[in-house]
């Protein structure tokens, strides 16, 4: 009975299982590395590393929920990063105008992918595979296979800089207060319409736990030099994507299209339009990730983002997104990205051979999805 309750808790709050997994991984590495894993400097680096995969995972989770896949994102990241570097270095563009152009370009290329999938009806797997090759080819062509450096300082700051500690505290406080305010507003609105309310203490505990996490996170980051700017961007994206997924008509339509496209179409939803928008957003996320990659390394490398699609897709699946579409969460995908980044970082600290790193990551991916399948089948029983 008790075991069943625990299981139900995990099924309902998948995030708990994921966080426990992260805690186990962190503890393991902390012990194995003689106490240098869970330190503010290492975690600061870890989160910064994860930011790029996290940005791709934000877009990818929508793509997978809508029942599609996009394999071209690693190459597209490389291409868009390359374009930023070329514009800023070779053509002397201002950093912000170069970024603006690349964001629009990312959106347009993503929309084009979506057009090929929805209007020309080429399966997204193939469109992605084709894009993976073609985009990488274009990067190599436009960069002449050369690394483009050095990029302007203000661009580098975007990748390597920090949000000042005091500002970090303010931002943390604002996030906490707005979450609390939203919860209160929801309760009041429901009370006004006479709708069923969850128990008050659950909301209080939830809010407090979230507050605790935010405080611990800000404290940890400030102990280094503040929240890294890419991580700050990722947090903002998490907020926006979670909002879109749970609060908007568009978000609901993404879940519905992935859950049953035919039923959704017969309900009068423009399913092709929804998918096209999802691909366009994926392209935009590739632009974000590409810009940050260039900023972090200070150069435009023709091989940037290689394998990025696999990291992003793995992050989504570890985070509980369904292979068949129709279910998944943004925060889950980001915790998935955190798991992948933690494994990378920990194994590097332990000086594990590269071959073993790949083997272990592969095994963990399959294992994580297997556990997810198990809990899913239990739910249906």
């Amino acid at each position: 009975m008790q075991a069943q309750q625990v299981q139900q808790l995990f099924v309902r709050y998948k995030i708990l299982a994921l966080l426990i997994a992260v805690a186990v991984i962190w503890t393991f590495f902390h012990v194995k590395t003689g106490g240098i894993f869970v330190t503010s400097n290492n975690l600061s680096n870890l989160f910064r590393q994860m930011a790029i995969t996290g940005m791709l995972a934000c877009g990818m989770v929508f793509v997978i929920i809508s029942g599609e896949i996009d394999l071209s994102v690693g190459s597209l990241l490389g291409l868009l990063g390359g374009v930023v570097a070329i514009l800023a270095v070779n053509h002397g563009w201002g950093t912000w105008s170069a970024i603006g152009v690349v964001l629009v370009l990312g959106l347009a290329i993503g929309a084009f992918n979506g057009f090929v999938v929805t209007r020309l009806r080429v399966p997204s797997f193939i469109v992605g595979l084709g894009g993976m090759l073609a985009f990488r080819g274009i990067v190599l062509y436009v960069t002449d296979s050369q690394t483009i450096a050095p990029v302007p300082d203000n661009l580098v700051t975007l990748g390597q800089g920090f949000v000042p500690p005091t500002l970090s505290i303010y931002i943390g406080a604002i996030i906490f207060l707005s979450m609390a305010a939203l919860t209160i507003r929801r309760r009041m609105r429901r009370a006004k319409l006479g709708l069923h309310q969850g128990a008050l203490w659950i909301d209080v505990v939830k809010t407090l736990v979230i507050g605790l996490f935010i405080a611990a996170f800000v404290y940890m980051m400030n102990d280094a030099e503040g929240i890294p700017i890419p991580v700050m961007i990722l947090i903002a994206l998490l907020a926006v994507f979670s909002y879109v997924a749970t609060q908007t008509v568009f978000g609901r339509h993404i879940y519905a299209v992935g859950g049953n496209m035919e039923a959704t179409r017969l309900s009068g939803v423009n399913v092709a339009g929804v998918k096209l928008a999802v691909f366009a957003i994926m392209g935009l996320m590739c632009a974000f990730a590409g810009i940050i990659t260039v900023a972090r390394t200070g150069s435009g490398s023709p091989s940037a983002g290689t394998g990025g699609e696999l990291d992003a897709i793995s992050a989504c699946f570890i985070g509980g997104t369904s292979m068949r579409g129709g279910s998944g969460t943004v925060y889950g995908a980001l915790i998935g990205a955190l798991v992948m980044a933690s494994l990378d970082s920990g194994m590097q600290l332990m000086d594990v051979d590269n071959s073993w790193q790949m083997i272990i990551k592969g095994v963990i991916l399959v294992l994580a999805v297997w556990v997810d399948v198990l809990s899913g089948s239990n739910r249906n029983a």
């Binding site: 929801r186 609105r189 429901r190 006004k192 319409l193 709708l195 069923h196 609060q247 908007t248 008509v249 568009f250 609901r252 339509h253 879940y255 519905a256 859950g259 049953n260 035919e262 039923a263 959704t264 179409r265 017969l266 309900s267 009068g268 939803v269 423009n270 369904s322 129709g326 279910s327």
Partner: protein
């Protein structure tokens, strides 16, 4: 030794307490062809599944005798080994494989080490086709090179390759032209002379009359009669198929039928796979305000295609002219249809109706999310308010609106889908098999709702294969057959026999005057 090759005695099959088959008897002599007749849902396909081993021995009650000995088939393979082969309504050929490969699929002639013995298979395939008087077929060519008539005969060759002694043909002529059907029937007559027994299942009673020696009629899972064909006429078969009183299942509420509100003109749909075949052929009708219009017909008559085309959801090429409240409307997608004031509750709830992973509430509001949103943001509380009101109004039984809809019973799922399509406040509501797989209590609720809507002036088109439902609910009944409108009857003293006769009669091509 019994005179029968095959005998089924008192077959009873239950699905979670519901008796789909209740004491069926069926017997076939060597070289005899037995026609099996019954309405949609009478239990024919369930019976065939018992017979062919899809439902293994032990999952049903009763006895099957084969050559006088009890047959305990645990799977389709067992019954095929005994010599019982079923040919399904939809052809089960792999189009990319060759004719010979299809004929021997799962039954391949092998050489050492599992290597295909193509020479032997080609030779045997050719001799089998010769037995069916089929000439000029290249057995090494892919099946897709040949038309539907040939493919049906390949299926028979496939059955003969398994040494079939009892051939079960389920609606074998449904995809054939009349000359192809003719060939098929003469081949069955040849096979009978060779001692092969057949069970011929068909709605087309003239085919049954031509080829069958004996007729067995079943209705509501019960055995009605078995008589020599010589004692029967198509009319007496129809009477036996229908022969029941409409139980008082229909809470008929008086409603006023007003002026014509919706005109449907010249709907034609072409088959997706075969662009020359018309699934719906130039159908026109009118619908009045507050009217419930039933569309009857046999499976495959083109009813679903007709309503899909009206709703802009037909997957292939289609044409239609629609006039709603005097204004022509253009409908190319369900989105446009809903905006124009049409709603469709589709036939296949699981595939087309529900989004299984989403909650009951999220399913209910899927077609009208814009109503509860400001600038793209959903007002969850307003949404939930509507959902809870609707759930109460339609008595949808669910523990919580957030529960995934997949966990609900069929009747409750159907109510949720119905609610979803009612929330856009349609002027014309199209229901395709609204009570399929729905329990009696929910059926009653759904009929009550339909009458209430009609009383409020909503016009309803209901496609249904259940004849009592059509007659119990409709103000007027359209009958379709082979893609054409075969009848248009006011539902005054209308009988099931009249409807069925119109649906089956292939000589009637022009609709009766209303």
């Amino acid at each position: 030794m019994s005179e029968y090759l095959f005998e089924m005695r008192d077959i009873v099959k239950e699905f979670s307490g519901v008796r789909a088959l209740n004491g069926i008897n069926l017997a076939v002599r060597p070289g005899e062809c037995v026609g099996l007749c019954g309405e949609n849902g009478a239990g024919k396909s369930t019976l065939m599944k018992v017979l062919s081993g899809v439902y293994p021995y032990g999952t049903w009650e009763g006895e099957i005798l084969w050559d006088g000995k009890p047959l305990h088939a645990a799977s389709v393979r067992d019954s095929e080994k005994a010599g019982i082969v079923i040919i399904h309504q939809e052809l089960m050929l792999v189009p990319q494989l060759s004719v010979a490969e299809n004929i021997f699929l799962g039954n391949e002639i092998r050489k050492m080490g599992g290597v295909m013995d193509y020479d032997a298979m080609y030779a045997k395939a050719e001799s089998l086709l010769a037995r069916l008087k089929l000439k000029g077929v290249n057995v090494a060519a892919p099946v897709s090179n040949y038309g539907g008539g040939y493919q049906q005969l390949f299926e028979i060759a496939k059955a003969l390759a398994k040494n079939a002694r009892l051939l079960i043909l389920d609606e074998p002529s449904s995809s054939l032209t009349s000359s192809e059907t003719d060939t098929l029937l003469s081949i069955i007559e040849d096979l009978k002379r060779e001692g092969v027994a057949c069970v011929y299942i068909s709605h087309k009673l003239e085919e049954v009359a031509r080829v069958c020696d004996t007729v067995t009629v079943i209705r509501d899972g019960k055995h009605i009669l078995t008589r020599p064909m010589s004692e029967m006429t198509t009319h007496s078969i129809i009477t036996a198929m229908v022969g029941r009183e409409i139980e008082n299942l229909f809470p008929k509420i008086e409603h006023h039928v007003g002026e014509v509100i919706f005109e449907v003109r010249h709907v034609t749909c072409w088959d997706v796979a075969n662009p020359n075949r018309k699934r719906v052929d130039d159908v026109s009708f009118e619908l009045r305000k507050g009217e419930i219009l039933g569309i009857a017909g046999l499976v495959g008559a083109g009813r679903t295609e007709l309503v899909s085309a009206i709703f802009g959801a037909y997957p292939g090429r289609s044409t239609a002219e629609l006039v709603l409240e005097g204004k022509p409307i253009k409908v190319n997608s369900p989105q446009q249809a809903i905006r124009a004031g049409l709603s469709l509750v589709p036939e296949d709830r699981k595939r087309q109706g529900i989004v299984p992973l989403l909650g009951v509430g999220d399913n209910i509001t899927l077609a009208t999310l814009e109503h509860y949103s400001h600038a793209g943001r959903i007002d969850r509380a307003a949404e939930l308010h509507t959902v809870e009101t609707e759930i109460k109004r339609l008595r949808v039984k669910t523990a919580s609106p957030e529960l995934a809809i997949a966990g609900l019973s069929g009747g409750n799922q159907q109510k949720a889908v119905l609610t979803k399509m009612l929330l856009p406040a349609p002027k014309v509501l199209i229901l395709d098999e609204p009570t399929r797989g729905v329990d009696v209590g929910s059926k009653f609720d759904i009929y009550t709702l339909m009458f209430e809507l009609a009383a409020k002036g909503v016009s309803i088109i209901m496609v249904s294969s259940e004849m009592p439902e059509v007659l119990g609910v409709s103000d007027r009944v359209l009958v379709m057959g082979e893609g054409k409108l075969k009848g248009n009857f006011p539902n005054v003293g209308l009988t099931q026999e009249q409807v069925l006769a119109a649906a089956i009669d292939s000589s009637v091509d022009t609709p009766h005057a209303a």
